[in-house]
Symmetry: C2
Subunit: 528 residues, 2 copies
Amino acid sequence: MLHGHNLIGFEESAKGKETFQSFSTVQGSFLPDQFHIATNNEIEAAIAKAVAAFGIYSKLSFAERAVFLETIAEEILQLGDDLLERAHLESGLPLARLTGERDRTMNQLKLFASLLREGSWADAVIDTAMPDRQPLPRADLRRILQPLGPVTVFAASNFPFAFSTAGGDTASALASGCPVIVKAHSAHAGTNELMATAIKRAAEKTGMPDGVFSSLNGEGATLGQRLAVDPSIKAIGFTGSYRAGMALYETVTQKRKAPIPLYAEMSSINPVVLLPETLALKTAAIANTLAGSITLGVGQFCTNPGLILVIKSKATEAFIELMTASLSAVVAGTMLNDSICKAYYTDRNKLINNQQVQIIFKGTELANEYKGTPALFSVTAKEFIANPALQNEVFGPSSLVVICDDKMQLETALTQLHGQLTGTVFGSNEELLRYTTVVQLLQEKTGRVIFNSAPTGVEVCHAMVHGGPFPATTDSRTTSVGTEAIRRFVRPVCYQDCPEALLPLYLQNKNHAGIMRKINGNYSRDSI
Amino acid sequence: MLHGHNLIGFEESAKGKETFQSFSTVQGSFLPDQFHIATNNEIEAAIAKAVAAFGIYSKLSFAERAVFLETIAEEILQLGDDLLERAHLESGLPLARLTGERDRTMNQLKLFASLLREGSWADAVIDTAMPDRQPLPRADLRRILQPLGPVTVFAASNFPFAFSTAGGDTASALASGCPVIVKAHSAHAGTNELMATAIKRAAEKTGMPDGVFSSLNGEGATLGQRLAVDPSIKAIGFTGSYRAGMALYETVTQKRKAPIPLYAEMSSINPVVLLPETLALKTAAIANTLAGSITLGVGQFCTNPGLILVIKSKATEAFIELMTASLSAVVAGTMLNDSICKAYYTDRNKLINNQQVQIIFKGTELANEYKGTPALFSVTAKEFIANPALQNEVFGPSSLVVICDDKMQLETALTQLHGQLTGTVFGSNEELLRYTTVVQLLQEKTGRVIFNSAPTGVEVCHAMVHGGPFPATTDSRTTSVGTEAIRRFVRPVCYQDCPEALLPLYLQNKNHAGIMRKINGNYSRDSI
């Protein structure tokens, strides 16, 4: 049923002789379908089509783009169980999780559609002319956000739907008015093909220009690099490992003449601070929550809690015992792919072999079955502070407990932390008010501060920030989840004394869509 | 009267033995005052103070920061004629221009103060909890923009006030909640000292933390590089040459571990398109406007019109004759400094010696008097398209007329343009509607499209965009002029289920300052 071709705009293309197959960790074998690696000509054709499409697509009304996004969601639903089953085979993720992720992906597209229909996101700002001002008159100045141009999206392995072909990067880039070229993730090339076909169908049904979307197969070191250096590519969305993200950063900053925004979400160990009184009062509940969060999805979430900071006490000992009991009861899950599973045990073994690190619990290594068993380690805050390598991400169901002597040492440990997607603190309101420095430090190091719940689970909404200081991302000024993700792919353009007929619709005197605009410094939905 | 010291927070410091003097192009001699180059210890002390100040300054209320900015404006006014006279000697700029620029600089500080008092700029977004939502409850999520940390500002030579010590970069960074370390421009070190002292006095008077502002003397290759690589510096504002800007870009991207935003405004030739019918109707008025714009401030504006695109006609010939007459009547002005004057004639001579370029007019070379005489060149569109080097900026009162055969060739020439701060078109409403592709191409290449007036003159307001695609800047997503400049120094932070007492003021249920917030997707000034 799968054709294994690249999608160059509306055209299926398989000019290359080189092919590959997806490996299923569920079946422990390669799946039969052959996927054609894009040739250089095919890559260039996709870029040329994206450039041509940009001229048309960027000028469509927000409502037209909204219909496109909603139709993609419909087409994804039409893929039915074929999509879920293929993704299960290619990712090892259970069907229930995949069903939820598919719904989230569809809702994400619909949320961006509603953002477009509302229209205020484009930040229309108008300063009207003051012809009589002294000493100089003021011109009429109007600005609005405009799309950057063709965007490359690198699909992620750990969310075959929500951070891949039709995921958040693609949805926000398409919403902003930018054509998208997806570099498919080779671990789930079949899932990618189904999703890409859904986007293609939606584009055809809604009259979008050929080239508004392309999907290419290939490796990061070849296809990825080629897309990253092309002068016509104006922004990049990436979710993946620190190593791959930094390789991309080097390429973008050193091998292309014109700088472009690179949004690479890479590495985060998501520190969780347990304040002592609250931990003593709710030891079992907190242990239960965290053990669940560490092992959810076999620990393969960007916001997995890889670091737990506590102050030495009886409660801490009880907490560690309860965690051990919970983790040892977890049935090992199948990991996303062979290389992620191997990397998990390699990185876990670095902790196991570290003389300063205590092994609290480790499940049997099941790399041959592609399964990840949980592990829990501990280290003194003194050692943690002295050894920055202990902050390296272990991608999988493993966590490191940092045992601090006192509040001051806890604060020192937090001061040493690298940038993170999330920082969590468990504490009663009253206790939190005695630990405001802890909260402040978490805020300085992260994109999201969470109170009294697990860091896993990222709501797709207006207020979400899924981003944070380096090395969590290469650009802390943005988010890859939630409606604000659209701002990654736009830049402001100002029109000075522009005739009404040539102004973008949302800057014209008549406020056609009734959007919120800033007029001479005041917010208003009025016409001028 | 000048002490020649560095300003490390509130402390004057002159630990280095190495000194330099400002050279006055007005007097043709060095000014007597000796300025001490910052030592490595002094640089480190300024950074340490900025880090310490950030912890306090970033938590002040918007109103407190507003008072600080307004007090800086007052202290600048208090500097009186001493400031204007020193700046005149150090920049060669006339007193009338400097008086206007000082007022603009003060107004800029006051505009950011009013933005802070209004408060909505911080983009408060609230999605309230939905505990009963199926299949999963939604947490309470609130996000707001928070300052990045200590910022380095590189002062510019061509605006000793408005783009220097207390200029737009400093004003917007201080407004955002970030401490600032200024690398003084060595051409106007005395002006810098006066301005820095005004900022210091304002900081002391308003109770700001020591280290909220520092000013250091030194060269780009040493002081500038040292500041650019320091891990505690979290963003950089720069205005200067393409070469210096790209050297800084290389340092920031290759010599520091953690990427930071670099806002380098560098090189723009600000194309002006003259549509044929309008040019024929208003030949004299357009020639007068452009000749004035080319020579304003001896051509030393970022938005100087260095490129004029026309379609071959009788009117074009008349236009060139009128331009020649206007330019030849201009009295040569003193340039900012020796190296800018030398570079002007060097770059101008490249055009003079280019076989494909016609010399329409060139004033006598007056490099020994530090004066810049106007020049006008022309080239066929065919040659212009074939030779990208003709797009190199000639910083000074020179412009190149590109003569196109027809509309199609004009469009091709515009397609080849590099990124620009501004793009201008002269055309009647009726004629513009027949040239919508021209307008579209100008929009794609620039940060600001101007209709029927000169590109020089940048209004400080809400809708301004002073930025644009590379090489105009290294980051087209922002502006360095206008209130939106504040967004360069912030990042979003999300608070999940945060107790009311720990939330930032502007995210609390009660909307204390009555700011505009986005609550569950709707804009509102209400409390929750």
